[in-house]
């Protein structure tokens, strides 16, 4: 009440006195619905993952957790191929991070620090990838991957995932480096550093948090990708490819366990990069 009374002379409108609390109630109701909309399916798939066979077929269900156990999850991880798929997913995602940073960051640095003929053509190439359904390009790669021995390896999968993550990495690192004043580097040159030393000692430490966020995005892009990973693997499947393959024949609680394992890193990662999310997407969506 005191706050409203204090605001009264400033706004001078009687309408603004009564509306805010009603509006705020409406706002928070709406937000509560939206938060539930996001969280409830995750909660239910978690119940399915830890409920085991009994839990999945219980009828009618209660929304409260009942007889949860780790047994269902350990059973799932014990199935032949699941652990291997998990490892393959981690390898592919790790390699995607390495490749997209190693290839993307230098390009981002070049775009940020230099003006050179052909720069717009390069930007166009990067943006062009946006207009194509990239995962589909895995289809013709099967043949050449078999020829080069890349087929059915996490390494091969990571190559196509890098195509997905690289344009993103280049654009984000570009703006990252643009945010670091050129003068810092020039000062290091004055003190006798080579260009490379100046970059390693001055620019890199400043860019590190942003680079870490870019790396996490690359990881998530690879971890989540289904289509290309399924096309390019047979025995050394990634977790997504494995789950897709067993969809039709595996019992429901195994599918939920797999879905839950897929979701966990995403939730943690989005939490880790939440400060960078909007900056990154503001840039990447231009």
């Amino acid at each position: 009440m005191t706050i409203q009374a204090a605001e009264l002379p400033r706004t001078g409108k009687s309408r603004s006195m009564t509306l805010p609390s009603a509006r705020r109630l409406l706002l928070w109701t709406g937000l509560a619905v939206l938060l539930a909309w996001v969280l409830v399916p995750i909660y239910f798939v978690a119940l399915g993952a830890f409920g085991g066979r009994l839990g999945v077929f219980r009828w009618p269900k209660t929304i409260w957790p009942a007889d949860l156990s780790l047994a269902a999850m350990t059973q799932f991880l014990g199935i032949e191929g699941v652990f291997n798929a998990l490892v393959n997913s981690l390898i592919a995602a790790g390699l995607t991070v390495v490749f997209s940073i190693l290839l993307g960051a230098p390009a981002g640095y070049a775009l940020a620090r230099y003006t050179f003929p052909g720069q717009n053509a390069y930007r166009l190439l990067v943006l062009l990838t946006r207009a194509f359904p990239l995962a589909i390009l895995a289809l013709p790669l099967t043949v050449s991957f078999i020829r080069f021995g890349l087929y059915d390896t996490p390494f091969g999968v990571s190559l196509i995932h890098t195509v997905l993550a690289l344009p993103f990495a280049a654009l984000v690192t570009q703006s990252l480096f643009m945010g670091i004043p050129r003068e810092y580097e020039e000062a290091a040159w004055v003190f006798g550093c080579t260009r490379f030393q100046a970059f390693m000692k001055v620019v890199l430490p400043l860019a590190l948090p942003g680079l870490a966020a870019t790396a996490i995005f690359a990881f998530v892009i690879s971890w989540n990708e289904v289509f290309a990973a399924s096309i390019l693997t047979v025995r050394e499947r990634t977790l997504t490819a494995y789950l897709l393959r067993i969809l039709s024949e595996s019992p429901l609680h195994y599918r939920f366990a797999g879905g839950f394992i897929l979701i966990i890193p995403s939730v943690l990662f989005i939490f880790a990069v939440r400060r960078y999310l909007f900056a990154v997407w503001g840039i990447a969506s231009k």
Partner: protein
Amino acid sequence: MPARTSWIPYALIAPSVIFLGALFLVPLVQTIWLSFSAGDGFSLGNYQRMASDLNFSLAVRNTFLLTLVVVPLQVVLALAMATMVTKLDKGRDLVLWVLTIPLGISDLAAGLAWLALLQNTGYLNSALYALGLIQGPVGWLSQETPWALFFAIVLAELWRATAIVLVILIAGLQLIPKEFSEAAEIFGAKPWTRFTRITLPLLKPSLQSALILRTVLAFEVFAVVYALGGRNFPVLAGEAYVWQNDNQNYGVAAAYAVLIMAISLAATAVYLRALRTRPEQLP
């Protein structure tokens, strides 16, 4: 002081150019070439086989239907979310974090999460049973209930991919100067007028990139559909997968890929034209 042109920038971009050339441009050309070569020389055989397949017209219809329903709904939902979030001062970060969680969730996992809700003995049926609306478990995701299955896929897609639209729109909203809206308020513009006359036009570049990104992704929708309905609901990318992996016919799979790419490019071109922003309209 712009740096003098030297070999350095070229050396820096060269690795990524070579990489994108080898793994983006080459497969792109390969796909097109593969789709036109059945037997010997140029032929439309693959396309004829694709078009005469039983599932083809269904897949085209379903993919378009999904895109036309999901993408506009996502934009509206994301706009509503963004407007609500910008009104918050307390708890804003937490709310944003929760709302953006689906951003990192795989389409396959999203399909499985909704499967937990919608399966025969799932939570939706339990709720309906508790309300006395159904007598026992009911199947929603089978071939006999195509519209319920369609609706389930729409829900899962809305759940999973609205977050990306939200993030792009919020990033765009942050670029709009507050003064414009405040000025309009002083001249007596109602909230709705301010939204349609100021926020929306200034948000056009962000809307454009969100729409392009989402539409391209919507045309390659695949894993959500498979997780919920298997092959009960054919879509274009799913058919490409089946021709490649199950039928081992790379030519027809390539024809599907070219079709998906052509549709995506056409959609991108439409958005670029329809939502053009002249430089003088930028804030």
